[in-house]
């Protein structure tokens, strides 16, 4: 970025450097009435980048359901806001930090967590929980251990220091992420309903204030980088890696909340991607105003920095805010107390333009609208060719393996199934004294301290299944939503709202765009049916890497990976149910129905090296009945455990229920005539994401209680079938599975 003079005849190079297309470049020249100079080009390229402008996704995102009785603020602000009752609101969002995490996994993931937390406390909410969704390359890839350990360390480093518990997440390994790991970070915060701050309230005459860390060369180009493929290792003379400083962010958090509490702030926006550029232009735009920005006042860490670089720097732990002139002294006192910069850098003006001053002279003026109104594309879509070969599975073409025990063991010890304990014990999940159900189970359950909330609480889960999305984008999208809801319902919660993080390859590839559009349709239909509006989200395109192999270049694309983060509510956290069995002798049931379809399953992958089959579609109407039925059983106190049937199928569900109980090792004896429902034993054991739950009930349930259970199931039209009993130490299913719980437990907990 040091020799960024955009020479006229150099548009080709400019394009490469700034990620703008030739058309976009001409459009900018046209809007400006002249060829953009380095400063202008920097600003436009940042604001018109995919990352900031959502130019390829906007038309589709607009179609998502965003309203609901509990939604106070939907997408558009820094984060969405949901009403929690009793004067409290919950604010949450999920965001990707994929490219920076691939380049420098520790700092990349750390600053990803830092960034999403800033989005939350910008709104006036105190972050109360973090989650994350991680995708790494194949478990046996030589770089995977490095990425896994650095990313986890980075996430812990930031979240732990901030004092925000990390209560859940997911870790998935797949070859398709070998060159593009995914790091999606989720934060939820709590605020008072009347204590929400927005970026859109600037008034003429207010002053513009810069708070937090000084500006350096960090993350220069971050915004444009995120929109480019990793085709070439750019020869970086200078370091542009963003370094996270969670200590400073903790101070920034306390200072901002204190200033908000004292009502010293009118409007506020964090400096995230494209730093000062996006915060100033977006705040001005959403307030329908303009600003004067005095670049001489910007606190700097280095003197060797150009105005364009100041505008584009992604130094962390900074905020731009707007306050009444009469409040500035008081505001400054708060930030002084916390030892942070607090500098007046400008003023809000009526004219919808940003007037930059540099070296005490007018420097540049840019129309807010011109810059903010980036392009919007409806890119070509084309059904991917590979989908033609994805057909329904006919299991009869495969013979039953001799030893199903081995298959079962392989599945339960597969890195995608095995316990992620060694990951989440690196995160502080107990701070806050609010974590009722910690990571390691279905959904995290939290209570709310220090408010009138009483016993009510909320639940959180993040889920995504890229393999299924690859095989059937619509189903994969719908499944991500449904899976979150299942995890929340299995604890006794009500799904309330979602955020999404849509990780895809290049939108300029029509086949990728087709995946995107269809996955989004899936999310949409599930969100509509389950009544979980989308209140915030994030799109990350260009997760692909061009690799040279001789003179041939192949582009490695990730599977389409939509990830959903869901919030649920529960009236009484003491009634939350965990997925593991509680005592020997309890009765085990299947609630719901089984498809027995092994299409796309881990079993097919491991046993036959072929999972390119169609996964089951989800019957959303049935799903709602099923979940309502389960919740009703839980609320009435009839269940001792409930677990969904996700990756790995019923076997994994049963096995996890047996071995994740914190202070004993249980097991089960299951006998189920699978031929009655016309499925083979492997289909029964390993078919995934069934519309069913494994539940356990006390065997001493009285007759009337049992009748009540049956009546509830009948009322919802859901089948309930007893399949066995909880045992100690053994895992038996029909005459096919005969395993020792200890051995399974050891395997399950020692893989990662």
């Amino acid at each position: 970025m040091d020799n960024v003079s955009a020479k006229k005849n150099d548009t080709k190079k400019t394009e490469k450097l700034f990620g703008l297309s030739a058309e976009e470049y001409s459009k900018i020249s046209e809007l400006l009435g002249h060829e953009p100079d380095a400063f202008e080009l920097g600003i436009f390229s940042a604001m018109w980048s995919e990352h900031c402008s959502y130019k390829s996704s906007k038309v589709y995102l607009k179609t998502l359901p965003t309203e609901g009785s509990k939604v106070l603020i939907g997408p558009g602000e820094n984060a969405g806001v949901v009403d929690f009752g009793d004067g409290d609101v919950l604010v949450f969002k999920m965001e990707s930090h994929n490219h920076p995490s691939f380049i420098e996994p520790f700092q990349g993931s750390a600053t990803g967590v830092g960034g999403i937390m800033r989005d939350i406390f910008t709104m006036g909410a105190r972050p109360v929980a973090n989650l994350n969704s991680l995708r790494f390359g194949s478990f046996s890839h030589p770089r995977t251990p490095y990425y896994l350990s650095e990313v986890v360390k980075g996430i812990g480093f930031y979240g732990n220091c901030m004092g925000v518990p990390t209560v859940g997440g997911e870790v998935v390994f797949d070859e398709c992420y070998n060159d593009n790991i995914l790091v999606n970070a989720f934060t939820i915060g709590i605020a008072k309903k009347d204590g929400i701050f927005l970026s859109s309230k600037c008034e003429e005459g207010n002053i513009v204030v810069y708070v937090g860390s000084s500006t350096g060369m960090d993350g220069m180009h971050g915004a444009t980088m995120a929109s480019e493929e990793f085709d070439l290792k750019k020869n970086k003379k200078r370091s542009t890696v963003q370094v996270g400083d969670p200590f400073t962010e903790k101070l920034l958090l306390e200072a901002c909340l204190e200033a908000m509490e004292k009502k010293l702030i009118v409007s506020i926006q964090d400096m995230g991607a494209a730093g000062l550029t996006s915060s100033s232009f977006e705040m001005a735009d959403s307030s329908g105003k303009g600003m004067i920005i005095n670049l001489d006042a910007v606190p700097l860490r280095t003197s060797e920095i150009t105005p364009a670089e100041m505008m584009l720097s992604e130094s962390q732990e900074r905020m731009l805010l707007v306050c009444g002139r009469d409040k500035f002294d008081e505001l400054k006192a708060v930030f002084d107390k916390w030892g942070l910069n607090c500098v007046e850098v400008g003023e809000v003006i009526k004219e919808k333009e940003i007037r930059f001053f540099y070296k005490s002279k007018p420097y540049k003026t840019l129309g807010v609208n011109t810059v903010v109104k980036g392009p919007e594309y409806k890119r070509p879509v084309k059904k991917p060719k590979y989908l033609n070969s994805v057909k329904p599975l006919n299991i009869d073409n495969y013979k039953i393996p001799e030893n199903i025990n081995d298959a079962a063991f392989k599945i339960i010890t597969h890195p995608n199934i095995a316990s992620k304990k060694s990951v989440f014990t690196q995160y502080d999940y107990t701070i806050g004294t609010a974590t009722i159900v910690p990571p390691g189970f279905s959904a995290a359950v939290l209570r709310v301290n220090g408010s009138g909330a009483g016993k009510k609480g909320f639940l959180l889960n993040v889920s995504g299944n890229s393999k299924y999305t690859y095989l059937d984008p619509f189903t994969g999208g719908a499944l991500a939503v449904t899976e979150c809801a299942r995890n929340i319902t299995a604890c006794g919660g009500y799904p309330a709202a979602i955020t999404d993080c849509l990780n895809f390859a290049s939108p300029e590839d029509p086949e990728v765009m087709w995946q995107f559009v269809n996955a989004l349709e899936g999310i949409k239909s599930a969100a509509l049916k389950l009544n979980t509006p989308v209140i915030s989200g994030n799109v990350s395109f260009y997760n692909e890497t061009a690799k040279k192999d001789g003179d041939k270049t192949t582009v490695h694309k990730i599977y389409p990976t939509p990830v959903i983060g869901m919030l649920g509510f529960i009236d009484d956290v003491e009634k939350a149910v965990t997925p593991y069995f509680k005592s020997e002798g309890d009765e085990i049931y299947i609630l719901g129905r089984l498809s027995g379809n092994l299409g796309g399953s881990l079993y097919m992958d491991l046993e036959y090296g072929n999972f390119m089959q169609k996964p089951s579609e989800i019957d959303l109407d049935y799903e709602i009945r099923l979940q309502n039925c389960l919740r009703s059983l839980i609320n009435k106190g009839f269940l001792k455990s409930a677990s969904d049937i996700s990756e790995g199928g019923i076997f994994v569900s049963l096995a996890e229920s047996a071995i994740t109980c914190p202070n004993q090792t249980l097991g089960f004896a299951v006998n189920c005539d699978t031929s009655k429902s016309g499925v083979r034993i492997e289909s029964f054991l390993f078919s995934e994401f069934e519309q069913a739950f494994i539940i356990s009930v006390d065997k001493k349930l009285s007759g009337p209680q049992k009748t009540a259970v049956s009546e509830i199931c009948a009322e919802y039209g859901i089948k309930l079938e007893k399949i066995g009993d909880v045992k100690k130490g053994i895992m038996k299913i029909n005459d096919k599975i005969d395993l020792k719980s200890d051995k399974i437990k050891e395997g399950y907990f020692s893989v990662i």
Binding site: I103, E104, Q107, S213, G216, M217, D218, K236, K237, R238, S239, V241, V243, G244, D245, F247, T248, R301, T302, S315, Q316, G339
Partner: protein
């Protein structure tokens, strides 16, 4: 730019116990949160003549003898180790002394 200026002390005994002393600092333009925090504490403890603090790592690698096959010298081996394992070239730079 990574700086590789090395002050090498010449030692004749080839088999002598030799150590590489590797200093790893964040590049100038990279934020140094540790240094910043230490600076603020120094200042508040009255050391107000201190203008800046940078915190890096100092690693002593004891080679106790031979150079690994395929390496011209201990220095070369230490450089490889520093670059590939001990430092992160994206944000750090190192200098090596062999003694």
């Amino acid at each position: 730019m990574r700086n590789k200026i090395l002050t090498v002390t010449t030692v004749n005994e080839e088999k002598m116990n030799k150590k590489a002393f590797i200093k790893i600092m964040l590049k100038d333009e990279v934020l140094d949160p540790q240094g910043k925090a230490v600076l603020s504490v120094l200042k508040s403890s009255g050391y107000d003549n201190v203008k800046d603090v940078r915190v890096g790592k100092y690693i002593e690698v004891d080679f106790a003898g031979e150079v690994k096959d395929g390496h011209a010298s201990l220095k070369e081996e230490a450089e490889e180790i520093s670059e590939k394992i001990l430092s992160n070239p994206l944000i750090e730079e190192f200098t090596i002394e062999i003694k």
